[in-house]
Subunit: 348 residues, 2 copies
Amino acid sequence: MFDFSNNSHRRYNPLTKSWVLCSPHRTQRPWQGQQEGADMEQRPEYDPKCYLCPGNHRANGEDNPKYESTFRFPNDFAAVKADQPELEANDDDLIKVEGVRGECHVICFSPRHDLTLAEMPVQDIKKVVQIWTSSYLEMKKKDYVNHVQIFENKGAAMGCSNPHPHGQMWCTESVPEEPGKELSAMQEYKEKHDGKCMLCDYAQRELNDPERKRTVFENDSFLVVVPFWAVWPFEVMVLPKQHIGSLPEMNDKQQTDLADAIRRITCRYDNLFQTSFPYSMGIHQKPLNDETDTAHLHLHYYPPLLRSATVRKFLVGFEMLGEPQRDLTPEQAATRLRELSEVHYKQQ
Amino acid sequence: MFDFSNNSHRRYNPLTKSWVLCSPHRTQRPWQGQQEGADMEQRPEYDPKCYLCPGNHRANGEDNPKYESTFRFPNDFAAVKADQPELEANDDDLIKVEGVRGECHVICFSPRHDLTLAEMPVQDIKKVVQIWTSSYLEMKKKDYVNHVQIFENKGAAMGCSNPHPHGQMWCTESVPEEPGKELSAMQEYKEKHDGKCMLCDYAQRELNDPERKRTVFENDSFLVVVPFWAVWPFEVMVLPKQHIGSLPEMNDKQQTDLADAIRRITCRYDNLFQTSFPYSMGIHQKPLNDETDTAHLHLHYYPPLLRSATVRKFLVGFEMLGEPQRDLTPEQAATRLRELSEVHYKQQ
Ligand SMILES: O=P(O)(O)O[C@H]1O[C@H](CO)[C@@H](O)[C@H](O)[C@H]1O
Ligand SMILES: O=P(O)(O)O[C@H]1O[C@H](CO)[C@@H](O)[C@H](O)[C@H]1O
């Protein structure tokens, strides 16, 4: 009999229409390679040298306001800009290019230099949800912005160069590759399944599973699940149980519940290896110029750590040139995450 | 006027049918984040503790032969195995899975613990090309192997845990995601363009460019180019100028020329930042069960370093959740690589 916790298999990601190789017997592999620096540092509440702390001086010469909850400002090294000539996509099958205008912003989550979302109270995280929401609405007014990509890189292992809690928002003329792929897969699913939403159906499937094998936890509005097709060892998806297309469609209760889900998953992450858990998080939702109801709001968390605060999973050779590969099964990862406390280890 | 070396644009990768965001003005961004350990270590020719050196003891209890050129053995922690029950793909649009049988092998490039391909003479690299070729042919005889993915992870930054020069070969029942995507894009191109091969046409385009903007170098049989759609800062593709579907189709002269191309590009890489340059390399070619002539043999090199031996490009938040982003243009990268010596800095 085929044993999913011991035999190699491929799982299909219906959102990106791609496969992931899962090799559960490989979890026993010893590791003699590169170790990450564990983030155990004690940080001050205010750091006079941090360019994100309230009142401090930034690279462009401006001073930050003495902000008390969240604070947004334009990225000093923006990847896209509003003021450049337009360039339409050309029609060449080998050398194809198009211009991209837009804006990049940084969003500080808290004036406190020493906190992360994992240690912040729900009411403060709710303010982050609210600034994401109002920023999305603000961008809707700009004709050169059609998509808002909100994300957070947390930890040095994820290319983050400042520990002050913050995320980014890259707003572009074009819908980027990943959300674009997801939207077209969701559109196809809808056509095939009498107008149903793929992620509504998926949330229902996980909720109906009597063993709740991949569910980490849920609250009234959200389900937090290790998706069947997860690539990163402890990857999760935060899914509204009801159909919500974008952040502004949430009511007050749903905003609170999203903040609650964010607090609880990031806290469990930190508790897993008793370290400030690195990850990249991103929000996928309706593009600004999208008139359909195909999109279903969701958050992806992609954390690299595999076995400890210092041993990560490398997605390299086979993963880059062949296909993503994981050892631990998504069901095993969900079990580990389910067992953890929702009180942060630093606050216990 | 739109300025490709200063304005943000997206470039299309026709092989994977996906876009890459290029933000050339962002090259000036300062870096205060994580630094890589530069690999400056002097290694002995033979290391008694290395499990890849000739005559040494391996994890599974076996002793390596006293090999004098290349040496292949089955991976002790294989991601896929020959002896597991079969499992056909099921027919579920949300939870879709299939079994994967196969074999994983490790290929040592040289008995010398202290060398890398960048420092090896062409005639020794040719032996590596030959063992790749004979291994591919050997796998053709196994009914549970339809695809051979040859790759090399070089350097600790690319998850490599042993500096002894070696690569791997993962042989699977299924054609993995990346080569699968490329093959279907090449098939579509062929249908649209009267049976022409996409990579033959692309090689010709680059060779016909009067400025040779993206070409690093060429020899009689191969072109080494920073593809128009490169993601990694110094990514290159090694392309046969004539149509070759797989390694066994090469004649003796082409084997020598491939070894020459590998030596010259890896040597330029090391010379760029005077360090042993990390990368993942992989060979894409015809799947074993492929009867068409769609595939065009090529090597991809994905090196992470951006600015120095210690500063890499992180493909994180926006790149994972939005789309791959690069600063330096492919043309700028090619110019840098073209200027470098083909004598290794350690041998100068
Ligand atoms: O097999 P190795 O070299 O120990 O391991 C390395 O390469 C593999 C194939 O790309 C990856 O799955 C591992 O994450 C990586 O650490
Ligand atoms: O903008 P940051 O935080 O300096 O930079 C980080 O996030 C960006 C967006 O994911 C990436 O392009 C950079 O490679 C990474 O280092």
